[in-house]
């Protein structure tokens, strides 16, 4: 992967190393605050500590899918590889975050709701639908088709998938009586100070993680397409030469090419 082609000669650069450094400091800090400094919840006790990861990954899965949608729209508009690669990279991270939301939510649900999963809960189900839609998106990106066709199809699926974000977000309000899930607890302002701070810290750390992963994934994707792009220059020469080999051989073609 680390080759000397293209505008980046590795997937890391000064700015990503800086982001990585932030993570190196931020993650231990988050762990300290989440597990030691922040207080227990009155009703949920220790389980509340999942808040600091569950909510940020949920929010950043929205953001990741949102970026995918923007990338998809810009791709359809500009037809540039840059936007396509961005959309793909972001979707991959979004799926990861969305999966984490589901997993942390389930783990959280076990002690608080006494169940891993609740089918009647609109937020859970809509989140799952969103997750599956983007799994489909990633599956579509594996299909052996030309890059253009694949990008076009994926862009349309990516845009349609984004319709889920508002649904997931608003679901708890639209179907108030069919959810166990928390409504916006942050806007209620009933969180304690340290809890609030830890939550912010969690959001920041997850946010940096997102950026860091996005940049790296983007560069890997870019290098891949870059390799294709430069690879084909070489492939063209190889193929043209192959034609010459054939010309002198016994192709039985009466005409012999004299060019080049």
């Amino acid at each position: 992967m680390i080759t000397t082609v293209g505008p980046f000669n590795a997937t890391s650069s000064r700015s990503t190393r800086f982001l990585g450094l932030c993570l190196l400091l931020g993650i231990p800090a988050l762990i300290l605050f989440a597990f030691i400094f922040s207080p227990e919840d009155d009703s949920m006790e220790d389980a509340v500590r999942l808040l600091y990861i569950h909510v940020p990954v949920a929010i950043f899965s929205y953001i990741a899918f949102g970026v995918t949608a923007v990338g998809s729209i810009c791709y359809l508009w500009k037809r540039s590889r840059w936007w396509d690669t961005t959309a793909h990279a972001s979707a991959e991270i979004g799926v990861m975050f969305c999966g984490l939301t589901l997993v942390t939510g389930s783990i959280w649900g076990r002690p608080t709701w006494n169940t891993w999963w609740e089918w009647g809960d609109v937020r859970l189900v809509t989140t799952l639908v969103m997750f599956l839609m983007f799994i489909g998106y990633l599956a579509l990106r594996q299909v052996p088709a030309s890059p253009e066709a694949r990008a076009k199809r994926a862009a349309i699926v990516g845009i349609i998938g984004t319709i889920n974000i508002p649904i997931v977000n608003r679901s708890v309000e639209w179907w108030e009586n069919s959810t166990l899930h928390q409504q916006s607890s942050l806007t209620d302002g009933n969180l304690e100070n340290l809890t609030l701070f830890t939550w912010f810290l969690g959001t920041l750390v997850i946010g940096i993680t997102y950026l860091w992963l996005l940049i790296h994934r983007f560069r890997v994707g870019w290098l891949e397409t870059e390799e294709e792009r430069l690879g084909y220059g070489a492939a063209i020469e190889e193929r043209q030469a192959e034609a010459h080999g054939l010309d002198v051989g016994s192709t039985g073609i009466p005409e012999e090419g004299e060019n080049e």
Binding site: V129, M130, L132, M133, I135, G136, A139, L140, V143, P144, A145, S146, E148, A149, K152, R153, I156, V157, I160
Partner: protein, 222 residues
């Protein structure tokens, strides 16, 4: 444009009638799915009656997948899709034509399956208008989104299995909405059927418009 759509739809229906796949094969399949559910739910009549609308629409979705795949396969088998591109027919017409054919086939199946459900699951209808209208609109939604995703999932040897995973999440709103309207119309649940009906209408309109505009882009093979 509509004339072209009609020609394409008629051709698809002609192929279907010729191969008698719906009558001989898909219709029994729907029946079987319902029976399987019966097994799975272990013949608890009360449960069956309550969940009839949901099972009905799950069965319809599974059957719709088959019908969509047939529709794509008809065009792919001998590269008729390419040939279609080399005619003056607009891609919106192709989209509408393929959707229309799918719509008609699904409607036939739905009517059949509906009577099966009435008998097997012992359901009774309180609001026939809501049932008819919502089935109609839900089917428009399934047909248009199915046609669109059918072509997205088509191409080099991936169709059969890629389609379900792309399409089923998309159809989740239809499945839920139609289940609720049916539940309301059967007097089983206290959902507001007409509100869900609105959702179905929105879905159908969105995918019809989306399909008409983006189908052409997607038809390109490479």
């Amino acid at each position: 444009m509509l004339a072209d759509s009609w020609l394409i739809a008629r051709k698809d229906l002609q192929v279907e009638i010729r191969s008698r796949i719906i009558i001989n094969q898909i219709a029994p399949y729907t029946l079987l799915i319902m029976v399987l559910f019966g097994f799975a739910l272990d013949a608890n009549t009360q449960t069956l009656r309550d969940t009839a609308p949901g099972l009905y629409w799950v069965a319809i979705l599974l059957v719709a997948l088959l019908a969509i795949q047939r529709g794509v396969q008809i065009e792919d088998a001998d590269a008729a899709r390419d040939r279609m591109l080399l005619t003056p027919v607009s891609s919106s017409s192709i989209f509408l034509g393929k959707s229309l054919a799918l719509f008609v086939q699904l409607l036939v199946l739905e009517v059949l399956l509906f009577f099966v459900m009435m008998v097997l699951f012992d359901t009774s209808v309180e609001d026939p208008l809501l049932v008819c209208l919502s089935a109609f609109v839900a089917t428009v939604g399934i047909a248009t989104s199915g046609t669109l995703y059918g072509v997205i999932a088509s191409g080099v040897g991936v169709r059969e299995t890629l389609l379900p995973i792309l399409l089923l999440p998309v159809l989740a709103p239809v499945a839920i909405g139609a289940t609720r309207t049916f539940g309301d119309a059967f007097g089983r649940v206290n959902a507001d059927g007409w509100a869900w009906f609105g959702l179905l209408v929105v879905f159908a309109v969105v995918y019809t418009v989306l399909g008409m505009f983006s189908y052409g882009q997607l038809l390109e093979e490479e």
